[in-house]
């Protein structure tokens, strides 16, 4: 580990930018604020690149420790940053994509009431994200983890007095509610993350001399030769599962994915940056970061990969029928994150992280393209009211198409390489607890790939192809192409979506650079004996998945090409299925009925109105009333008549005398 003194600038530049935007922003022109914010993130990117080259040349991780944050109970926590191969990938992706999206936002947000607020939040987000991926221990990571949640909350609710628009045109959820939902659901995940931290501290603290038990390097060293003696596998599995609870919240996996579709209430660049490219991948990053735990626990691997697979399929089915362009992309994101978890769950960390990277490119591109469409369509998001936009927005169309092909997994676009690597690893994966897991997950993944190709081309078909359906909503205006600040990032991302795949070629074709790069940073499963699969099988699987993707594309084109009556027929043939999918399996409704409403009504009706007011205060007031009643009764003795008092005096004296005489007769 090599100590350097500049890593803190990666988060600090955006932080400075956030402060400057907040303080100076109101007095500056929108473009100037945007430029300031972009430059700050760009500077951060530059530092990341420099660090990347230093890691590449030195073949070792970099570290900067700023100061000791706190020390108590034997536990020591530094504010420190770690820049190893894994952080490098994340840092480059995050700061790079962020720079592009900042640039894009200059045009997008120019006419808003307070662009400075937007850029301030956005820079703050990059700051938090940088903390998350660069933190050299779990607590600094947790700061970033919560920080990105906060920024997500702020940015989803950026237009805090507005509502989402349902495809039918009626009001949907309030933006601020969507933000709150995101934060609260994330907190449920954080609950698991926190408990995992506690369990790690309690378990490993006695084994660490200087108390820096939350440092990744320390933990990794402890786990180097397997689970340390005295610690059961159960504990490691529990830690992994608790961490994964945190990941499901942040990375929108079952059952905590519900916030992400609603997070589309935020401005589109936010959706692209936070809810597609960077923040939602934090869970994947975290699992990869804690790989040394996950490789020990087959149970945890199974759960992570299984949840990932289930989410991939589940979200894809919902994505099939959504009408809001951003909602389709949101469910697509959930689904793709599922693929990443399949990858990291099966300890194919380079595959998972590589899919994270390519996904960051093409999904950011998709969202930015969608933003361009929405911008050009004057804030219309219903794809059934678009169509034929290819003619009006050529650049947006072509870049969007590149990203769509990439996500569908067509050779030689980036998505093909990353998704195929995951599926290949799944096919070969062997789990001790459930040996068939690899094949099942592979099959699910393949089905998901079919659906992905289908819904993405459905989206393209309805948006860019076919007849123009937008005339009634635009009232005679025409869609227009976006300014260069918006299309330039599209172009750059399109190039990356096309070309990035070559970094991780299937090993039968050439060296997997990405895998080699990540190898020192993540743990690896010990090779399983007797489980060989030849190049023929790999070729076969590749062709199969290409064929599946092609099938999806072809059927989507067939369905939606020329406003064919087929979709309508399908909808009519299976109305129940369509409604269930369109209403997202009623999961939100289920949570609302099963959790939120009972909790609120019990709190209000029982805990507050009954228990607090009646039982506790009732007891107290009852005591007071009892005292009062006694007083009322005893008050009757105060007749005001001298004789009554005299009689009482005599009675008292008499009682006293009898008492004394009794004592005397007892022989006192």
């Amino acid at each position: 580990m090599h100590s350097v003194s500049y890593l803190q600038y990666i988060p600090l530049f955006p932080l400075l930018g956030a402060l400057l935007c907040a303080v100076l922003g109101p007095r500056l022109k929108p473009a100037a604020v945007g430029a300031l914010a972009t430059v700050m993130v760009g500077a951060s990117f530059a530092v990341s690149v420099a660090a990347f080259f230093e890691v590449r040349s030195g073949h070792q991780a970099l570290q900067t420790v700023l100061y000791t944050w706190n020390a108590l109970g034997g536990l020591t926590v530094d504010v420190g940053f770690l820049f190893d191969q894994l952080s490098a990938v994340m840092a480059l992706v995050v700061t790079g994509v962020s720079t592009l999206i900042h640039l894009y936002s200059i045009g997008y947000i120019a006419h808003d009431r307070s662009p400075w607020r937007f850029f301030s939040y956005l820079n703050l987000f990059v700051f938090s994200m940088a903390l998350l991926i660069l933190g050299n221990n779990l607590l600094v990571m947790f700061v970033g983890w919560e920080g990105v949640g906060l920024c997500s909350y702020l940015l989803i609710g950026f237009w805090y007095d507005g509502w989402m628009k349902e495809p039918g045109g009626q009001r949907g959820m309030a933006n601020s509610v969507a933000g709150m939902k995101a934060f609260v659901v994330n907190r449920i995940g954080d609950f698991g993350f926190l408990l995992a931290i506690f369990l790690i501290v309690v378990t490993f603290l006695p084994k660490v001399a200087d108390g820096r038990v939350l440092d990744f390097a320390v933990l990794r060293a402890l786990m180097e030769g397997g689970i340390p003696s005295g610690i059961g596998l159960g504990i490691i599995t529990t830690i992994c599962l608790l961490l994964f609870v945190g990941a499901t919240g942040k990375s929108a996996q079952l059952p905590l994915y519900v916030w992400l579709p609603d997070a589309m209430a935020g401005p589109t660049p936010v959706s692209a940056l936070i809810h597609a490219a960077t923040m939602v991948t934090a869970g994947v990053y975290m699992v990869a970061r804690m790989s040394f735990f996950y490789i020990q626990s087959p149970t945890a691997q199974l759960v992570v990969a299984g949840v990932g697979a289930a989410t991939a399929l589940f979200a894809a089915t919902i994505g099939l029928v959504q009408r809001d362009i951003k909602k389709v992309l949101a469910y697509s994101t959930v689904s793709q994150l599922g693929y990443m978890f399949i990858g990291v769950g099966m300890c194919a960390y380079s595959a998972g992280v590589f899919h994270l990277t390519t996904h960051a490119f093409f999904k950011a591109l998709l969202f930015l393209g969608a933003g361009s469409v929405i911008h050009g369509m004057h804030e219309e998001q219903d794809i059934y009211r678009m169509g034929g936009l290819k003619k009006y927005m050529p650049l947006t169309y072509w870049t969007f198409l590149v990203a769509t092909i990439a996500i569908a997994g067509i050779w030689p676009f980036a998505g093909f390489f990353s998704k195929d690597e995951i599926l290949w690893q799944a096919f070969n994966y062997h789990n001790e607890v459930f040996p068939e897991a690899g094949r099942v997950i592979w099959a699910v993944g393949l089905t998901g790939a079919l659906l992905t190709a289908f819904y993405m081309f459905r989206l393209v078909a309805l948006t860019f192809w076919g007849p123009e359906r937008f005339h009634e909503v635009l009232h005679g205006k025409h869609p227009h192409e976006s300014p260069w600040t918006m299309t330039l990032p599209l172009t750059v991302l399109a190039v990356l979506s096309f070309g990035a795949g070559w970094l991780a070629m299937p090993h039968i074709w050439g060296p997997n650079l990405f895998h080699h790069w990540l190898e020192p940073a993540v743990a690896a499963l010990p090779p399983v004996g007797g489980h060989h699969s030849g190049p023929g099988l790999e070729w076969g699987l590749m062709i199969l998945s290409m064929g599946i993707a092609g099938l999806g594309i072809a059927s989507a084109m067939g369905f939606y090409r020329q406003d064919a009556p087929l979709p309508t027929r399908m909808k009519a043939a299976f109305p129940g299925l369509y409604r269930v999918l369109y209403q997202k399996y009623y999961v939100d409704e289920l949570y609302d009925t099963a959790v939120i409403r009972p909790l609120v009504s019990v709190s209000r009706g029982f805990l507050w109105k009954f228990f607090d007011v009646n039982v506790i205060d009732g007891t107290v007031n009852g005591l007071a009333s009892a005292v009062r009643l006694c007083g009322m009764a005893l008050r009757r003795l105060q007749t005001g008549l001298v004789h009554t008092y005299a009689y009482f005096i005599v009675l008292g004296a008499l009682a006293f005398v009898f008492y004394v005489m009794m004592m005397l007769s007892k022989g006192l």
Binding site: Q638, L641, A646, Y647, V650
Partner: protein, 103 residues
């Protein structure tokens, strides 16, 4: 028990006196008579003091009886003044008519 008056005789006499006073307080309604009954009780106490003083050969009992007289004098003076006031107010010295301290 000889007929010669001894300590016990005086104490018994004082006791009888005291209880006559007590019965007066309990049975009479006239405030002035009640006051007089109280004087009887005080005198019973005085008698005891003096008797014990004689028995112990110490003059302290005498001194105590003076104190009692002082208190009795003050009490009678103030009490009778109050009775006069009440009488002016209510045209009655019957204690049953005076219950303004009720509840």
């Amino acid at each position: 028990m000889s007929w010669l008056p001894e300590l016990q005789h005086y104490v018994l006499l004082a006791t009888a006196l005291f209880f006559i006073g007590l019965i007066g307080v309990l049975t009479r309604r006239n405030a002035i008579v009640i006051f007089m009954s109280i004087e009887l009780m005080l005198n019973a106490a005085n008698l005891c003091f003096v008797a014990f003083s004689r028995y112990l050969g110490s003059p302290v009992g005498h001194l105590f009886s003076f104190m009692v007289m002082v208190v009795a004098a003050c009490e009678v003076a103030v009490g009778l003044a109050i009775i006069v006031l009440i009488f002016r107010e209510r045209r009655s010295v019957n204690v049953d008519d005076v219950n303004i301290m009720r509840w």
